[in-house]
Point group: C2
Chain length 369, copies 2
């Protein structure tokens, strides 16, 4: 069965390579293989490229488990990126006729993939006026007898919404009461003592993580699935049919990355903080733009003037005329916004934002024209 | 929805690392990353690990296309191994209620995965007496109005069955008459002027290939899907939801491999020929074993004595007592055989086979008791 176009991904595929200033990339600036191998230059020399350990290299499994409070081996399996992890969870947990609740604006995968599996999906709108927060009452209203899971990214793409603390406790309580799976794509999260994975909070949670966003290594296509042991066991059977293993090459590079994660993550945090500071200062005096800059993650949803009713046209013309690249809100089913990435090195971000402001003024004038 | 255990893969996972003499591995002896990088030692130095080209690196696409007669760009997409490619084809082409025909003994994926998709599957038994050939009449008898595709590996695992020439022409004619997709896992094939991919013979063929078997590089987890452009286009949309890309690291290594494929494939051919010669000479005088050694591919199905009715017990005891490792016929739903790999370097294969013979004699004596 075919599946609907993935609008964000297609927009990226079509335009990304024309970008001079990529202000929309969700990943932190990517490292090169050479940079990663600097501290272990001989790491690949004798690495035999057979299937490797089917459940994953034991040393790498240990490193990934160390990110979580629950470090039981049976709570973890590996996959080619969190995106694939999300599909595997849906493949195992969903049957035709099941009902899924997700959030909007959000990542289109959580809507279309369950539909592709024969499930139905209801979308809960995030509270725009309240910093894109999740309103639990709306989740309650979306519940049906067939509801099987809540399925969303936390932190979310494109809004950066991070449901945690008391809000997450209440959400978990709701899931527990209705016996729901809580499936969270945590690709924008690096769990630590202050920010727990929901897999450490709820017994029917299954989450995904990867090295693609905060670690700046999407090119490894390495991720994992973490959570309820019976789901992990079923996915391990399913992996034999779908991937066998992630392979020793990618796993060795992932191990090297996780061993030096302190420095990778510090560099990422500094990049994001630097970009946020420039953005905040610009937003404070911008006549046209506003944004709820998120606490976590590397994406935000930038509000463009209400008068711009076709975000795709705006983004396309902006790219053509200035080289500034955004994914338009239209790709997330939400006009009035563009998706902004916070983790790239942009030469002279201040002046790029100034160019954006000037282009927008002219665009609005021509529109009134 | 869960899926049934994949018996061969689970057997491999459980026992493979105990093997001293792995006589069952389907891949040609794996290369190390260092060996592969010998001719291009700087290849990874400046390789940025972003998502890379979403449809795949253009130079790599060109190399893969060069394996086929039909070299149109729209006939090719990349994936993490042929195994994954097979699932993607099924994901796009199959709907609940469809009917699939596959062959036996064969790779369990072609039975269970369609069933997991809600399809029904009929299995056509290969002609054991006639070198495991495919009997077209049996395919005809298995046809139903709902039959959507033929789905099998060619050459096949575990029998090495290679359907080609006139037999393949007739099979294609049958598919054409009934408007069937012909989906062939060609992971054991390296297409050349003498051995054509079925994607070059039939307009409704979709095939998979990879570097895992003949190229000795399963650790790259790199493969491709080749065939009917409308299926490839639908899979490209689907890839956005499931993998995004294969990533620049794996693709660069794949490019290096394909650029030196003449030497990789020659080494593989020599290994297989050497092992076949030793096997043939042993089989000629073996009182207990016989085998139809296949024309193509790197696997064969070794006939064990009829008196051994539990191939799993035989294989387990053989491994424990001698370190010789086989996947038993039971994993393929066929007693009386073990699956043999032809592409590994086995130190002193003659004497290992002698050990196998001696163990078997004792095993039979103990069985008679």
């Amino acid at each position: 069965m075919k599946i609907r176009d993935f609008l964000t991904e297609q927009w990226m595929n079509e335009y990304e390579r024309q970008a001079r200033f990529n202000l929309t990339d969700t990943s932190v600036q990517a490292w090169s293989a050479g940079e990663l191998l600097e501290k272990e230059p001989e790491a690949l020399e004798h690495l035999v490229l057979d299937y490797g350990y089917i459940p994953g290299d034991p040393a790498l499994r240990k490193e990934v488990l160390s990110l979580y409070q629950d470090q039981r081996e049976e709570t973890l399996t590996f996959c080619h990126g969190a995106l694939q992890g999300n599909t595997m969870i849906a493949d195992i947990l969903l049957s035709p006729g099941d009902h899924v609740i997700t959030i909007a604006p959000g990542y289109q995968q959580f809507v279309e993939y369950p539909i592709h599996k024969g499930a139905s999906v209801d979308v809960v709108e995030l509270d725009e006026e309240n910093g894109w927060s999740l309103d639990l009452d709306k989740v309650r209203q979306a519940l049906r007898p067939q509801t099987k899971m809540l399925f969303f990214a936390n932190p979310s793409n494109p809004t950066g919404t991070w449901t945690s603390g008391k809000a997450m406790e209440e959400l978990i309580e709701l899931c527990r009461m209705h016996d729901l799976w809580l499936v969270c794509d945590e690709v924008y999260l690096v769990p630590d003592g202050h920010s727990l994975s929901v897999s450490d909070l709820y017994e029917k949670a299954v989450v995904t993580g990867s090295l693609s966003k905060q670690y700046g290594l999407p090119g490894l296509r390495f991720g994992w699935i973490k959570g309820a042991p019976d789901v992990i066991a079923a996915i391990d059977v399913y992996r034999d049919y779908t991937i066998i293993s992630c392979g020793p090459l990618v796993e060795r590079m992932a191990l090297i990355a996780l061993r030096q994660r302190a420095s990778l993550l510090q560099a990422a945090a500094e990049r994001i903080a630097r970009n946020k500071a420039v953005l905040q200062s610009w937003l404070a005096s911008s006549p046209n733009f506003s944004c709820h800059l998120p606490e976590k993650g590397s994406v935000a949803f930038l509000k463009i003037p209400d008068a711009i009713t076709d975000s795709a046209d705006f983004a396309r013309q902006l790219l053509e005329q200035t080289g500034i690249f955004f994914v338009p809100g239209a790709c997330f089913g939400k006009e009035g916004y563009v998706r902004m990435g916070l983790g790239q090195d942009i030469d002279g971000l201040e002046s790029v934002l100034q160019t954006l402001e000037e282009f927008t003024r002219t665009y609005l004038e021509e529109q009134r024209g």
